[in-house]
Amino acid sequence: MAADVKIAWKDVTVRFGSKTVLDRFNLEAHEGRSLVVIGGSGVGKSVTIKTALGLIKPNSGKVEIDGRAVKYNREDDPGVAQIGMLFQSGALFDSLPIWKNIAFRLLHAEHMNEEDARERALDALDQVDLARENADKRPGSLSGGMLKRAALARAIVGRPKILFFDEPTTGLDPVTADVINKLIKRQVKHFNATAVSITHDMASMRTIADEVAMIKNGKILWRGPLDGVESCEHPEVCRFVQGRSEG
């Protein structure tokens, strides 16, 4: 249904040198739904997200948010302004305390005063179940799981309409990964946001996905509801999800 398409990749081609990463790539993410993109290493999952964030300019084609083409490297793009992003590494700024990391957009882009911005950052910490006493610590003093929570708090503090998650559970133990997955699911529902996640973690996919798309050779190999993955609608997707190298 065209009306509820939030993000659309339209014939997007991205090349790095002689390597074509996305090849006339088409995909849509629908409003209020959680789309998980899976695929082998180096197939262009991260590039897919970065084209929507305006970080990578497609060689051809375009990405639209709310029907408007995303501009490349423009921090004032209205589409990008409604995005929250959780990076694989967290990407928190080492030189700032946790609360200033979380409140960064509020302080620098929305020019909120420090007192209000700190209060919003502390609320965000509550939402991701990270104790407020961590607010004044530096990222270097937190564990991997705590860093992911802090990064998630930064992604949601601006009350985003769109959330991107890049390998949200990479490097976490299974229990912490499960906690992060549940937090993501809760936050996506809370904001009624459109979520696009890329992951290799099938447990993560099962927890957070409404729909799944698999990329191969720069194109969408298969796309469908989570049930379709579980019922092995496509043999190659089935093999990937079950972690089988053959048959």
Binding site: K50, N73, E75, V80, Q88, A91, F93, H108, A109
Partner: protein, 255 residues
């Protein structure tokens, strides 16, 4: 490989690099003159680039001034021109050695540091994160560092000039037997306003170049820890080469 083809490829790569650096420099200037400005970042960089560079700049200027006085005395004594030591030391320090020595020492300390810091931010996606937080990295990261370089280098050069002349004075009076009051009088008499101003203009240009090189190589770092190390090395080497080249051009312009 055909040597002409290799030469052509090298030339094209050089032109490509020159174009990329020029474009980056123009983007930096554009970011520096348009709001929003990040005052807190600028103050931090002024402190890190300026105040923390004072000891190394001061020490090198002191030894350079002292060595210069000894050399000029040795050379001057061959044709009975020892009395020109204060004149040549002060002119040499203010017009040439103060700006160049200070810029080289700061580039060794600062260009590599900036390249490593920004390169690590690139490797850990912190620069991408800035974009997603509606903040332009050119304004938040690059412009404050380059502005700080342009402001701080002339101030450091004033310090280097004073300490360098002091080094020459100390050696001349203590070792070479110069009269202190005559030495000071000769130093003050020989210096003209333009000598000082031209040195400070050089310093501002060097400050721009050395911070720009740190930022450029850090911003374009690729390949994790190895890439960050490469960026730091390239930043120092390219800053040093550009400082010498700019010094020649500016000196030609100012004589």
């Amino acid at each position: 490989m055909n040597p002409f083809r290799a030469l052509g490829a090298g030339l094209l790569a050089l032109l490509h690099s020159a174009g990329a650096v020029t474009r980056f420099a123009l983007e930096t200037v554009f970011a520096a003159v348009r709001p929003p400005w990040f005052g807190g970042q600028l103050v931090t960089q002024l402190f890190r680039l300026g105040f923390l560079s004072l000891p190394v700049v001061g020490l090198t200027a002191l030894f350079t001034g002292a060595a210069l006085a000894l050399n000029i005395y040795t050379g001057g004594s061959r044709f009975n021109a020892e009395s020109f030591v204060p004149n040549i030391v002060s002119l040499g320090i203010v017009r040439e050695l103060g700006p160049v020595i200070a810029a080289l020492m700061v580039s060794g300390r600062v260009s590599s540091g900036i390249a490593a810091e920004i390169g690590a931010m690139r490797a850990t996606e912190q620069i991408d994160a800035l974009h997603t937080l509606a903040t332009d990295p050119m304004r938040y990261l690059i412009a404050p560092r380059v502005i700080a370089g342009v402001i701080v280098l002339p101030l450091l050069v004033i310090v280097a000039d004073l300490i360098g002349i002091l080094g020459g004075f100390a050696v001349s009076v203590q070792t070479l037997g110069f009269d202190p009051s005559v030495y000071v009088k000769n130093t003050v008499d020989i210096l003209e306003r333009w000598d000082v101003i031209s040195g400070l203009i050089k310093a501002a240009v060097f400050g721009f170049l050395l911070t720009l090189m740190g930022c450029y190589h850090g911003f374009h770092a690729e390949g994790g820890a190895q890439g960050v190390g490469r960026a730091a090395t390239n930043a120092v080497v390219s800053a040093a080469v550009l400082i010498f080249a700019a010094n020649f051009l500016l000196t030609s312009l100012f004589v």
